[in-house]
Symmetry: D2
Subunit: 293 residues, 4 copies
């Protein structure tokens, strides 16, 4: 049989760092976000707006996604924007709104941190810290995340190989925090009909190489609202442990990413479809409830 | 709302050629391969070895995949190999073996043509003509396929955009043949842990832009035997009309692509799993039988 | 010292096929196109229109580039176009025009062949056969080129690695023809501000791995007329043995590729600049004359 | 004439942010690094080790590159390493060594900053602040650089488009600091024979779109010591305003990047060759002296 160069990563092993490796820990790591468990038999669903824009926008969206079965709320307060002249987020005011709606709905909160100087402040509001694609190799930030006692959602860089992605996670684990969820969110390729190319093969690859939970972001992965349901279903079929999706109560009025955000009805319909796929692959959606409720 | 650059292809339309466009033909085109229908509610399953190597190899593989529900047999007689010193296929002897096993099993045959001078000869054996990735922009070959009265399986070039892929199909339709199946088989990116990056978002994109059936090749798309099942399931969940997969009765002895070929048991297990996914998305697998039997 | 994964190709050697390898032949191969020698100390300059459009267009362009020091004339008669509805070339009428202007100017002709069935006919007119990017892995065509007794200009596929490029050349050499010039013409990447990304590092890489001459096509490599001079100079500084450039007497009226074609004055000015660069790297431009004159 | 999609960036203009744009400022911006002027007729040469490893290593390398005509010294004290288990740099001890050798040689110092919390400290030692590829979209860091009164060397992200690169620079200029040098250092593509693909076409593109100086890093751009000279010459021929290169007194003993570092003799030889290229394109190397001496 011919040799397969692709098996280097699988067989070689030496390049896969130790703490994230399945060779070190054969059991799946379960990441616990205030009672929501990622990495077990249940599929977790993280939903919410790209950015926190206003009390009404956040609260209406949050209540709706909760009633449809989402178990974690997303929302950005500090936004990494390609242009300095775009909306940069509400900052701490946004975090406060997230805190209020968490009290009401019981949904744990995930939100992004971009600056080591703000790490402690963001962590004081968030139930899970997100490190975004552009910061996947921001090593001081990764080290802060490693010293933090909160779960971390680490998004793959748009130019990062699977190996580099695992090495970035290793920065966090090497500091003592193993509560890390890996998130595939699309890579940059020559294809321009989608915003990024969602690399679903990264899901079985990461699951094989590492014991950490793996989720998928079909919103950024495609950049196309109408395509999110197809790719969300495909992600679950490929073995993902969950999804993170942008949902907005009025996508056409969103300040950012409206073109890739589901509206409330679309999200509800998708949840129904996802449950069928989950069953077909022997998984479940939305049986656990956040501990607060 | 911000404008979405990705919607250019969807909205603009002008760049999508006319005959392949869904604007020209809103109904799905059904491609009929000797009674097997692609593009309708049923999922088609094309299986078989990368290359025809021997009577025993081909026949044992064909009988097994048929009994597990495959409805078309694949097998290469003329192989496009990166090195001139690799096995180049059995040529017409391979085609003859394909003809014999078709008689026995009733499975229609799909096989690749590489040279305009051999088009007529290959077409005299094949029930569906395959044009491979490396020849996606071989325009004389596409024109021959357009003048042929057999269905054509057109594989996406490994660095072709969705738009270029549709323009290649347009070469065939422009000559009068609309019996074309589009096949996503992985694109080339910076990621090297898989042989190619399977671009499953191309499935909903192509289905939206065109009325032609779309299938997926998870064998070449991943280059990893163990990953084929996960990506086959994801492809169906994403809306593919079928799959083409490499199956070999003894993968470890295969002359080519053994590392990405399922063995007979793995294929049987996968077929059972695929039926569950098909049902979850409202499709069926293996209800029609080839007309011959 | 850390190991360098990039040196695999250089050191490993096993993957570099034998006939094209510098290990097989340490001396530079000199390709002789009717007296014009590529691969020695002189830089060769191939210039002319993308496509032969008319007698006037071809002849005026040819006379002008000759007077400015070009030593080979390019011009397409059979054009590989992404859309079936674009101009496909004048066919044999275009070849006849090329033959006439060769007689007048003494410039050898290079033109593309796309179909094995037309190989003999095209070769009867051309002094050098071009195999284009889209056909770099059209193996039947490469084998024809290998059995031909004319020099071959092989363009790198837009998705081909250096290794695959050399393996494609090996198909030609393996049939007995070592008169092959390799041409870097840009690869496809995520960057869209240029038509392709001109990979000038392929020049020193190919020169180190192989004994064949290496030239560069800055017209297709950039897709931008105003950028051609900068990249032409850079190519010579990087060690290229020559350039192939699109020049048109009226670029704004060109049927194809006008936006990347130099006009006659721009070409003349560039030639003057290139001579300075050639001297700075110890090379020469335009000292030999075609044998005909 | 066909429309050229590549001209969108050139013609459209709207996507190019205002402060970095040549439309805003038609004159070249001259960046002044303690008397060394980038962006004028002179080519600047930045040389030194990847990382500061020891007093001997740094001082011997610095003295040698200065005697060969380098006008700025590079050396990393805080190193962004893909693995947490690799050498992370000497930290402030490294900065102190850089300060000592600056006093001796008069060479201005450029060194990288990775963390907003360390910005002030690093800036107190450096004459020019480097923001590395992995941090090109680290917006808090860019804003710090914009509020700083030191010149900034901004390296292109390995998967950043030209447009995103300019938008990152705009973050700095928007805070009031226009002393920014842009550095092309290779992008990530499918090609693996080089560490990155050095995109020299970015040089004329950036020079046309922006008034900021543009330099090239052939060391990271190729990852191959033997290829650095060829690409350094090509960069100058393409119009670059300078080069940054890794030089080490004992490359085979370097802790990082030894395989892409020139030794002292190679650097001296290259400087002699670069002067010839500079003259051929109407530029000069090493006429100005740092103001200190």
């Amino acid at each position: 049989m011919e040799t397969n160069p692709c098996n280097k990563l699988i067989n070689g092993g030496s390049s896969i760092p130790s703490k994230v490796s399945r060779k070190t820990n054969q059991e799946n790591t379960i990441v616990n976000i205030k009672g929501v468990q990622a990495g077990g038999s249940e599929i977790i669903i993280i939903a919410g707006p790209c950015a926190v824009e206003s009390r009404e926008q956040l609260f209406e969206t949050a209540r709706s996604v909760k009633s449809d079965g989402a178990n974690i709320l997303r929302g950005g307060a500090f936004k990494p924007r390609t242009s300095p002249y775009n909306f940069q987020g509400l900052g701490e005011d946004g975090l406060k709104l997230l805190g209020i709606i968490r009290e009401e709905t019981g949904l744990p909160i995930v939100t992004e941190v971009m600056d080591t100087r703000q790490f402690e402040m963001v962590a004081s509001y968030a139930d899970m810290i997100q490190i975004g694609s552009r910061n996947m190799q921001n090593y001081p930030l990764l080290k802060e995340a490693g010293m933090c006692r909160k779960p971390v959602l680490l998004k793959r860089g748009m130019m990062a190989t699977v190996e580099e992605f695992l090495l970035a996670a290793e920065y966090i684990l090497s500091q003592g925090n193993d509560q890390v969820i890996l998130c595939e969110r699309g890579i940059r390729t020559f294809e321009t009909s989608t915003r990024n190319t969602l690399d679903l093969s990264a899901v079985p690859m990461l699951k094989r190489l590492s014991h950490l939970p793996v989720i998928v972001d079909p919103s950024h992965g495609t950049g196309l609202r109408w395509m999110v349901p197809a790719m969300a279903k495909a992600a679950i079929a490929a073995g993902a442990d969950g999804l993170i999706m942008e949902v907005h109560y009025k996508p056409e009025e969103a300040i950012c990413d409206g073109y890739q955000s589901l509206d409330l009805n679309e999200f509800g319909q998708l949840m129904a479809d996802l449950k069928k796929i989950a069953i077909a692959v022997g998984r479940e959606i939305s049986l656990t409830k956040p501990s607060h409720v």
